[in-house]
Amino acid sequence: MASVAHPRIALRHRLAERGLDRTLLLLIPAIIFVVALFIYPFVYGLQLSFQPQPGSEAVRRYGSGPFADYRDFFADPYLRNTIWTTLKIGLPAALFNVLASVPIAYRMRGRFRGKRTITTILVVPITLGTVLTAEGLLAFMGPAGWLNRVLMDLGVVDHPVRLTHNYWGVLFSLIITGFPFAFLLTLSYLTGIDPTLERAAATLGAGWWQRFRHITLPLLAPGLGITFCLSFVLAFSVFPSAIMVGDPSGQTRVISIAAFHAAFEQYDYPMASAIAMIMGAVELIVIGAVLGWRSRLYRGATGGKG
């Protein structure tokens, strides 16, 4: 086969040297899949968002130009404010989940009895899912729920605190479903940091705060950046709980509700696509900012694994 200087074989050899050979054919199903079910719908949605639906509100107000739906979104405070509403819920939830998971994961990074049990219990809320969590919150934190009874019996409050059907209900549901996820990620980053580094610092006389502040935290920071991004993605796309435990027409009218409303109640797919694109853009801006900050941090081989 190799003895004859056939041009086709020569080409195949040259390609193989650059890593292109028949093994790559295995990628073809996955590539077809991503193009057909992710990239094509995305591009389709993008071009649809520039073709406003005749007869829709946006066209009546701003004509049938390509940007009518976007102009309508940013001009109408009811739509525009969904961005702030979503950020006001998503950012604190993601920030809380990450910050609360650091001390707990730091405490649990070593080996001890029952670690596996605690990790398992903490994974449970991930499987509960948003719908069940919302349902449970309604019963538990509602005006006649156990939480308000305890608070009233303890004399902390004299009438039930309103914790559901408003901002707080959604925030709680995001913390309950999001915290375990952030905790598991943080714990896995922390266990990836070489423990001998801290021991060396302890030998040199560093206290636990100095060890944490100058050794662990700098190595953990890139991982925390990623954890924040993934927590934020989860919190930003809040949808069922914003309807169920929230106040879907006011305080917690998040952007995904606006997109869903446009698509499946007004049947205005161009507007829905425009809202979806704006949603993706806002999310990528936040993630880009965090990842940009992260790229300036130290990412060495000694740990952190970020």
Binding site: T23, F38, I121, A134, A263
Partner: protein, 281 residues
């Protein structure tokens, strides 16, 4: 590790108590949230007071009949199994190519495979549902399966690529030296080695698909609802149905998820899994 005593003298510091207190508080809230649903589902009436006024299990029977949970569970199973099988068939070969070869454009491809996980389901779910409706696929089982595959295939690739990377390529070369054909290498050498990783990926995809609300919600028709979507509809139609029936349904959902979770944790250590995923980028 056994010879060096671990530095464990922080156990009685106030900081430790604070942290354990916070964990206990979180677990207490969690217990309250789950407990309230479970208790209500077994109660006759519960308007005021710490507990329902009487106990019964009849809500499970009525909710099973009225929401036709038998067929809902069957749909859930069909969707989940189809997604698992197809995502493994598409994802594992791609993960093999990505783990074994360095080629121009690999980074772009990795980003394309990562995006469906990084972008929230509603963002691509709305255009995806629009496209699926255009081709008359949405509202049917096919549409639900296709939509759920979008995050599942990248997830399999993400889990399997580091798993395949740690299998020594010399084993394949040795088999080839001994005269094994490509087919034999895949069925007799790689297959058995890949089984643990594929099992882990399959169970995780199963859990994610059963719990996936947004994509199923956007593409499901009346006959293709999975359990979580049926639960959502029953909650938003509250007032027509007794609250206890909805809670009974929620308990059924939780139990099925717990069974899957316990099965998953037998094969996968959650903390290690995340680290493995991380090492790919």
């Amino acid at each position: 590790m056994s010879t060096i005593p671990a530095p464990k003298r922080l156990t009685l510091r106030p900081g430790a108590w604070l942290v354990w207190g916070a964990v206990a508080f979180f677990l207490l809230i969690l217990l309250g949230v789950v407990g309230a649903v479970v208790v209500d589902s077994f109660g006759t009436k519960w308007f005021d007071g710490w507990l329902p006024s009487g106990w019964t299990s009849r809500w499970y029977g009525t909710t099973w009949r009225e929401f036709d949970l038998g067929s809902v569970l069957w749909v859930t199973l069909e969707v989940a199994l189809a997604v698992v099988v197809v995502s493994l068939l598409v994802g594992v070969p791609a993960a093999y190519a990505l783990a074994r070869r360095a080629f121009p454009g690999k980074r772009v491809l990795m980003v394309a495979f990562l995006l469906p996980i990084l972008i929230p389901p509603i963002t691509y779910g709305v255009p995806l549902a629009t496209v699926l409706y255009k081709f008359h696929l949405a509202g049917k089982l096919t549409g639900v399966i296709l939509a759920n595959l979008v995050p599942a295939v990248p997830f399999v690739i993400l889990v399997m690529t580091p798993f395949i990377e740690q299998i020594d390529p010399k084993i394949e070369s040795a088999a080839r030296m001994c005269g094994a054909s490509t087919r034999v290498i895949f069925t007799r050498i790689l297959g058995p080695l890949l089984v643990p990783g594929m099992l882990a990926a399959a169970i995780l995809v199963l859990v994610r698909t059963v719990g996936m609300f947004e994509l199923t919600f956007l593409t499901a028709g009346p006959d293709s609802q999975t359990l979580v979507v049926a639960l959502y509809y029953s909650v938003s139609a509250a007032g027509i149905r007794a609250q206890q029936e909805i809670d009974a349904m929620a308990v059924i959902y939780t139990l099925s998820m717990l069974v899957l979770l316990v099965a998953a944790l037998r094969f996968v250590n959650p903390t290690q899994l995340v680290t493995q995923i991380k090492e790919t980028d």
